[in-house]
C-alpha cells in the first residue's frame, strides 16, 4: 500500500511537471516543446529501447543458456567474465566509443544500446540456470526425465524469474543509456534534455527529464509485475 502511494506520488509529480511546462507560453527566448514533440520523442525512446532490448534478449538468453551446457561449459568463464567486465565500463564510454567506430547515426545508437543491454541479460541467463541446485536435476534424471524434459520442465521454469530480472535491469539501464545515445545519432527524450543543456534553459531540461524519469519508473514497475507473475508460487518469498 505504502509502495503504491510512493509510486503514484512520484509519477504524479513527474507527469505534473511535464504538463505544467508544456502549458507555458515561453521558456526564456523560445517555446516549450509541444505535446506532439513529447509524444514523438517518447515513442522514439521506446522504439530504441525496444529494438535494442529485443536484440539483447535474442542474443543474450540463448548465449547465456548455451554456455551452461556440458559441452560448452569451457566457454562460460570467458563469456561471463567479459560480461562482468563490460558491466563495469561506464555507459557513456560505451556509447561514445561507437562514434569513431560506426559514425554518428541511428544504427550506432542502437548498437551501443544493444551491447550495453546484452550484459545483464546474458549474465542472468547463465546464473539462472547454472545456480539451480544440482540435486534437483539429479532427482529429475533419477525419475527418468529426458534432457529435453529437464531443460523445459525444470531448468527453464526455475531460471525464468532470474532471466526476467536480468531483462528488467537491462531495460531500465537501457532507458537511461538511450538518453545518452542521442549524442551519437539516436532519437528520443534525451534530445530535449540535451537541447535544454546546450541552451542553458533549466525548464527545457526538466521538460525532457521528467517524462524520461516517468518512463523509466513505469517500465520498471511493469516489468517488475511481469517478473513476479512469472515466478512460480513455490519460489516466491512469503
Amino acid at each position: 500500500m505504502r509502495r503504491r502511494i510512493v509510486l503514484v506520488t512520484l509519477l504524479g509529480v513527474f507527469i505534473g511537471i511535464t504538463i505544467w511546462i508544456t502549458q507555458m507560453d515561453t521558456l526564456r527566448y523560445m517555446h516549450p516543446k509541444t505535446y506532439g514533440d513529447l509524444a514523438r520523442q517518447t515513442w522514439n525512446h521506446i522504439k530504441m529501447v525496444g529494438i535494442a532490448e529485443l536484440l539483447a534478449i535474442g542474443v543474450g538468453v540463448p548465449l547465456g543458456v548455451l554456455v551452461t551446457r556440458p559441452g560448452l561449459k569451457k566457454f562460460a568463464t570467458p563469456v561471463i567474465g567479459t560480461a562482468n567486465v563490460g558491466q563495469t565500463i561506464p555507459s557513456l564510454a560505451v556509447v561514445a566509443i561507437m562514434a569513431p567506430i560506426l559514425g554518428y547515426r541511428f544504427e550506432s545508437a542502437i548498437i551501443a544500446l544493444f551491447v550495453y543491454s546484452l550484459l545483464p541479460v546474458l549474465r542472468n541467463s547463465f546464473t539462472g540456470i547454472n545456480d539451480i541446485d544440482p540435486a534437483i536435476i539429479e532427482s529429475a534424471k533419477g525419475m527418468g526425465m529426458s534432457r529435453l524434459q529437464i531443460a523445459l520442465k525444470i531448468e527453464l521454469p526455475l531460471a525464468l524469474p532470474i532471466i526476467m530480472a536480468g531483462i528488467r535491469t537491462s531495460t531500465v539501464i537501457c532507458v537511461g543509456t538511450a538518453t545518452l545515445a542521442v549524442l551519437i545519432g539516436g532519437e528520443g527524450l534525451g534530445k530535449i534534455i540535451l537541447a535544454g543543456l546546450y541552451t542553458q534553459i533549466p525548464l527545457l531540461i526538466l521538460q525532457g527529464a521528467a517524462p524520461t524519469a516517468a518512463l523509466a519508473v513505469i517500465l520498471d514497475t511493469l516489468l517488475g509485475g511481469f517478473e513476479s507473475w512469472m515466478t512460480p508460487r513455490g519460489l516466491k518469498k512469503s
Binding site: A99, T212, A213, D220
Partner: protein
C-alpha cells in the same frame, strides 16, 4: 595512433581530469557510506519493517531514473533554493543519491540476516543491544557493506562521467568535448581512461572487501 599522440601531448590535463573524477567519487561516496550505513542500521531496527520497505522501495525507484534525467530534475530544484545548479554540487548530490541504494540495501539485509542464534547467544551472555550491534552484527555485515560500496563506486564512476553535462569536471570532459567536435582521439582517450578507472577501482575494492572480511567468514 592519434589517440597515442593525444595522450602524449595532454597527459597533464588527463591527469587532472582523473584527479577531479576521483575527488568527486571520493567525496560523494564517503557521504553516501555515512548516510547509507546509518540509515541501513536504523531501518534494520526492530519494528521498522514498514519504514524499511518504503525507504528501500524509494531508493530502488531512484536507481531507475536515468542520470541525465536526474541532473535535469536537480538543476531547477537547486536554483530554486539559490544553490549552484551546475558544477560540483549537483554532481555530488546526484552521486550520493545513486550511491545510496547499494550501500543502504546491503547494510540492511546484512544486519537483518545475521543468524538469530548468534544474537540470542549474545543477549544471553549479557551483551547490550549496542554491544550486539557493534560486536556481532556490524563485523558480520562489513563484507556485505563493502560489496555494496564497491558496487556504488563503480556505478558512480560511470555517472560522474555524465556529470560533465552539468558542468562537473572529470574524465567525461574529453568524451563530451570529443563528441561535440568529432574529435575521435579525445573520445577514445576519455572512454579508455574512464573504463580503466572503473575496472581498477572495482579490483582494488574487491581486494579491500576481502581484506576486511573477518578471517572466520572466509573460505
Amino acid at each position: 595512433m592519434e589517440v597515442w599522440n593525444y595522450i602524449n601531448g595532454h597527459w597533464l590535463t588527463i591527469g587532472n581530469w582523473t584527479l577531479d573524477h576521483l575527488w568527486l567519487i571520493f567525496v560523494s561516496n564517503s557521504i553516501a557510506v555515512l548516510i547509507g550505513v546509518s540509515l541501513g542500521i536504523f531501518i534494520a531496527g526492530k519494528g521498522r519493517e514498514e519504514i524499511a520497505d518504503t525507504v528501500l522501495y524509494l531508493a530502488g525507484i531512484m536507481m531507475t531514473i536515468p542520470s541525465l534525467a536526474l541532473f535535469g530534475l536537480l538543476m531547477p530544484a537547486l536554483s530554486a533554493m539559490n544553490l549552484p545548479a551546475i558544477g560540483f554540487l549537483p554532481a555530488v548530490i546526484a552521486l550520493i543519491l545513486y550511491g545510496q541504494l547499494p550501500i543502504l540495501r546491503n547494510t540492511y539485509t546484512a544486519i537483518r540476516e545475521v543468524d538469530p542464534a548468534m544474537i540470542e547467544a549474545g543477549r544471553g551472555m549479557g551483551m547490550t543491544p549496542r554491544q550486539i550491534l557493534v560486536k556481532i552484527k556490524l563485523p558480520l555485515a562489513v563484507p556485505v557493506i563493502m560489496a555494496g560500496l564497491r558496487n556504488a563506486v563503480v556505478i558512480n564512476i560511470g555517472i560522474a562521467t555524465i556529470a560533465v553535462f552539468i558542468g562537473a569536471r572529470g574524465l567525461g570532459v574529453p568524451i563530451f568535448r570529443g563528441l561535440r567536435t568529432s574529435r575521435m582521439d579525445m573520445i577514445i582517450t576519455g572512454a579508455i581512461f574512464v573504463s580503466m578507472l572503473a575496472l581498477i577501482a572495482d579490483g582494488l575494492l574487491a581486494i579491500a572487501e576481502n581484506k576486511l572480511t573477518p578471517e572466520g567468514l572466509k573460505r
